[in-house]
Amino acid sequence: MSAGPGGSFSRTQYRLGFWLLLAPVVLWLGLLIILPHIDMVLVSLRERVASRQYEFSFSNYITFFAEPLYWNTFVRTAVMSIVATLLTLMIAFPVSFYIAKVLSGRPKMALFILCLIPFWVSELVRTYGWMILLRETGLISGALQWLGFIDQPVELLYNDAAIMVGLIYTSMLFMVVPLVTTLDSLDNSLIEAGYDLGGSSWHVMRSIVIPHAMPGIMSGCIVVFMLTLGNYLTPTLLGGKDSLWFTEQIYTQFITRFNWEQGAAFGILLLVLSSLIVWAGLKVTKQSFTRVMS
């Protein structure tokens, strides 16, 4: 700090600048993330005993565990999300490897942009696109009839496979981007050294490429898992009434039943569930959260 007469003044200025720059982040986090969540916790822990009269209670959580429908939907959503994440990874990894390591120059950029372009339209439009393809009077059904494989229209929508297709399609980019980035940073000579020391393609992939790409794999998986678990649009549109996605239960409680207490409890449970699964995933793969997110 300068020792001159302006010293204390510039120090105050510096402080002011620091807080002004920090203000948007603090406001955003505080007003839009932390406060609503604290309020959600408080709302979820009360029970309406009479009009406008509330009491502290765990009844909303007890209802969740007592009612098999809620419980089953919850587990089903978690399992489907994990499966969707793994399938996305399995499809995205070869694509990313091809983009990052096999191609170079213009074809590389072109393919990367091709992965990006579908995300210029909204998720709603993309999901409707799938509905046009999959519905009973849709393109695939029509094509199969025209080719003579089937003799009457077939409904491909409103089942788990349709939900899965939609979820994977929606999540693809969020897996491809971190994977391409980490694979790009893998020095080609490491791959060559892997071969040179006697490794087959499988060994090189398993002992060199995948360990290197692990932070990218995990960050892609975390993002895709979170997006899938919290997705409302795709399961509802492609899965129809039977989709049984947990976000629909939350929606129903808040909007249809006007039971904010129950909805808040579900919301908190979903948050706890996703945090637990991400934590378990990081533990199993021995990755640290800071490294994965950097």
Partner: protein, 385 residues
């Protein structure tokens, strides 16, 4: 080569770890490697020396199997490896940036190749400890790669290859990233390791000092071809081509014309008009354009005209001294305007030399070399400067 050739020539083949015949690789119209043939005796330290872009990396990558030659053959221990993928070839490579696997420990890096070779796991520890002892890193097995210094990484990269007992170890300028002091140490260290493991080393570099210090044989490569293959001494004292003479060691180069030839001594006049005597074993017609090479260290400086008869003796003016310890040099200019660089011995006699002073430099005819200027470069003699 046919099968019979192998049988009849078995003893000769046994002595060679690596042989290439008419190996070529083109990228479009550009010939990166152009009909290169050579063979390396068992246990030799063989260097390929050349300026960047001369094709030496392409050649090494073909030996390792990362690039397919367009034509020609590669024989390792007498067997063609043209259709052998890199992971099946009995050669290993130390990469330019070493390519140690950062996700594994030192022991993990060394064990990677052992596992792929199918060596039982219980033998790994002994082999790893043994090779770490030999590269003088005992007890480093559990260290992470990022805990090692540059020289230690170097040793691990070599240990990782040598533990597999390859027929040939390929080294792709591995000392390039090290600082000067460490590079000097590693030169001696590499030579020691090569003798200790008794493995054939093929070392590529653009640094002539690395090649000359370590190698048994050096191939000088230029524009995809080998200019000369020989011992470091041969390359230095008997360069076969003008390129080798100019590339190995320092030289004063002048373009000139032959005046006359008597026996193996040529009288020539440089473009500045300086008359010199030079040795030449090949006949040169009078008037033929030639390039003459004079090494700074063959010239003797004297304050007064030497009494003994010298083939070449020039009175020159000192332009400047270039002090570099034992490698100090003197830049001098003849009356005709030709600038020469002369080695300056760091003895008391020459401490008083100052720019502007007149001295004599002298040398014998057989201490300079001359080569005819090839027809295609004749039109642009300034290249030879």
């Amino acid at each position: 080569m046919s099968e019979q050739a192998f049988v009849s020539d078995a003893s000769a083949e046994e002595q060679e770890d690596l042989a290439c015949s008419l190996l070529s690789k083109h990228f479009g119209d550009f010939a990166a490697v152009d009909k290169v043939s050579f063979s390396i005796a068992r246990g030799a330290f063989f260097s390929i020396l050349g300026p960047s872009g001369c094709g030496k990396t392409t050649l090494l990558r073909m030996l390792a199997g990362f690039q397919e030659p367009d034509s020609g053959d590669i024989l390792i221990k007498g067997r063609s490896v043209l259709h052998t993928p890199p992971n099946k070839r009995p050669v290993n490579m130390v990469f330019q940036h070493l390519a140690l696997f950062p996700t594994m420990s030192v022991a993990g890096n060394i064990a990677y190749g052992l596992k792929r070779k199918g060596i039982p796991k219980r033998e790994h520890e002994a082999l790893i400890n043994d090779v770490l002892d030999k590269v003088q890193l005992p007890g480093y097995g559990n260290k992470r790669i990022d805990q090692l210094s540059g020289g230690q990484k170097q040793r691990v990269a070599i240990a990782r290859c040598l533990v597999l007992k390859p027929a040939v170890l390929l080294l792709d300028e591995p000392l390039g990233a090290l600082d000067l002091k460490l590079r000097e140490q590693m030169k001696i260290e590499l030579k020691r390791l090569q003798q200790e493991f008794n493995t054939t080393f093929v070392y590529i570099t653009h640094d002539q000092s690395e090649a000359l210090v370590m190698s048994d044989q050096v191939a000088v490569m230029n524009k995809g071809r080998f200019e000369q293959v020989g011992t470091p001494q041969e390359l230095y004292y008997q360069p076969a081509t003008a390129f080798v003479a100019g590339f190995i060691g320092d030289s004063n180069q002048y373009v000139g014309q032959v005046q006359e030839q008597s026996g193996e001594t040529i009288t020539l006049v440089t473009e500045h008009g300086v008359r010199l005597l030079s040795h030449s074993s090949q006949p040169m017609p009078a008037g033929a354009p030639i390039t003459v090479f004079i090494r700074p260290e063959v010239m003797q400086i004297s304050m007064v005209k030497p009494e003994t008869e010298q083939d070449n003796c020039l009175q020159v003016t000192i332009l400047r001294t270039l002090f570099d310890g034992a490698r100090s040099q003197l830049q001098v200019e003849t009356a005709e305007g030709a600038v020469l660089t002369v080695a300056l011995p760091q003895t008391a006699d020459f401490h008083a030399l100052e720019p502007g002073r007149s001295v004599y430099v002298s040398w014998q005819a057989n201490q300079c070399l001359c080569f005819p200027v090839p027809a295609e470069t004749e039109a642009q003699p300034e290249v030879a400067q």
